[in-house]
Amino acid sequence: MSERDPLFRVEGFSGGYVDGIDIIHDIELDLYRDEILTIIGPNGAGKSTLLKAIVGALPFERGRRSFQGEDVSGWSTPRMIEAGIGYVPQVDNVFTSLSIRENLEMGGYMRRSGLQERIDEVLAMFPDLEHRPGERASRLSGGQRQMLAMARALMLDPVMLCLDEPTAALAPATRGELFARIYRIHMAGVGILMVEQNATEALVWSDRGVVMVDGEKALEGSGTEMLTSPEVGRAFLGQAEGEGFAIEEGMTS
């Protein structure tokens, strides 16, 4: 696999939760290992559904998804995770009654060896978690929980990480910290695919952005293109006509 082959690709992809009722339609999407790709769009556009489809958590799907050149259409979530894709759902993404360390153990449930070493490695990436591995997840703040959820997903050394609205419930200050953390993970060689409502902020950190509307891919471009495009700005970043690029809250936050 050369450097410019996509890590993950979906082609002609449609699907939904009920047979015959598609939420997403005919999606074409590539993710490369050396990029952070953010999917934005209004509520109900099918962003989270697409992310679930990618990790094999959608009951009905048509089309093709491939991972590292291999056809993985129809693979279940555990299989996708074992293959090297980390997935962090938007809500309920940690075991609240388990300790931080136990959460990581569960994240690494499928590891055959080196569990303790990996836990130490992952903990080292998150200083907030590192100094109290025995703490129950229910006692963590929202930002720390999100960190733990990501740490959990990193336990199997994924090459790709799917994040569903990682900053949804966080205060602005914490959001920046979390994006910086995601960027650090990315720099360690993990392709990042995330869905975000805080669109402007997310695009600042992204190499590429995709806009979804009504279950279809409406626009695609580099992060900067997206931020400066008047169309995107008007429709999705909550900017008034002619206002141009400005760091603001996403429209739905």
């Binding site: 555990p78 759902p89 993404n93 075991f95 009654s97 388990l98 569960m106 229910s138």
Partner: protein, 283 residues
């Protein structure tokens, strides 16, 4: 403790648990009784205890038997109900139905009479302060504490136990982490079955072997679980102790016939004051 496990881990209030205890009690009885003796399980006694190898074998048979019953019922009923999609209600009613069935089968096989594992009078020995304790009771307490320690070790120190807690906490995420939640559920039923059988045999040893003994204990059991906090093995142990002591002590002041009402009063009081149980953790 078996009940708290099912209740806590699987979120199912298993009203059939009491009757599974009843099964444990009777399976062990089968081994110690004359039918069992014909099969060659006759045993002397251990020191001053009222039983011998027969009961040990009986206990093992009971554990395996009840675990099997548990698993079969979960496969046949609960798993299907989970697939067709039923709420808590459906599980509760189904388990009540199974409770009735299990009890009916006990009656069919052994009849409605009461039995004892080893007839005869077993003298109590005096310990400190003139309190009389039967040697069997030492044994029961010892086994119970041992079971609690083992359960704690299992839940908090082993990979399987942690996966059980994870499945209980967030089944979807557990599955997405590659935990085989079906296997975990089956395992939980097995463990609960083994504990139920153990409890049943201990109960039979302490009191009489009777067909509805398990069902009669159901309310005190739920009371103990609620008192101790659902899904918490230490809580269940202490809750069990608490309910038992309250029942016995209460006879000092009130009519013995009212003893069965005590657990209910405890349930109501605990629910009013501490809905999560005395040792329940805040989520």
């Amino acid at each position: 403790m078996g009940l708290t496990l099912i209740f806590g881990v699987l979120g199912i209030a298993d009203f059939a648990h009491g009757d599974k205890m009843g099964w444990g009690m009777f399976l062990a009885f089968f081994i110690v009784s004359s039918e069992g003796a014909n099969l060659g399980f006759v045993g002397g006694r251990f020191g001053s205890l009222s039983f011998g190898w027969g009961l040990v074998v009986g206990l093992l048979v009971a554990m395996i038997g009840v675990a099997l019953i548990s698993v079969i019922l979960e496969r046949l009923v609960f798993r299907r109900l989970r697939i067709t999609g039923g709420g808590f209600f459906v599980f509760a009613i189904a388990s009540l139905g199974m409770s009735i069935m299990l009890r009916a089968v006990i009656q069919l096989i052994w009849g409605p009479s009461n039995f004892r594992y080893n007839p005869g009078i077993h003298p109590a020995i005096e310990i400190l302060g003139g309190i009389k304790v039967k040697p069997d009771q030492f044994f029961i307490v010892g086994i119970t504490v041992l079971a609690a320690v083992l359960l704690y070790w299992l839940l908090y120190r082993t990979r399987f136990g942690k996966a059980m807690r994870a499945t209980s906490d967030n089944p979807a995420l557990a599955e997405a982490s590659g935990i085989d939640t079906d296997r975990i559920r089956t395992g939980t039923w097995i463990i609960a079955g083994v504990l139920g059988a153990l409890a049943g045999v201990m109960l039979g040893l302490q009191a009489e072997v009777r067909f509805d003994a398990g069902f009669r204990l159901l309310l005190p059991l739920f009371a103990a679980v609620i008192l101790g906090g659902i899904g918490n093995p230490w809580g269940a142990l202490i809750g069990g102790l608490g309910v038992g002591i309250a029942q016995e002590v209460s006879t000092e002041w009130i009519n013995t016939g009212l003893k069965p009402g005590i657990p209910f009063v405890i349930v109501i009081v605990v629910l009013l004051l501490r809905p999560r149980g005395l040792f329940g953790q805040v989520r």
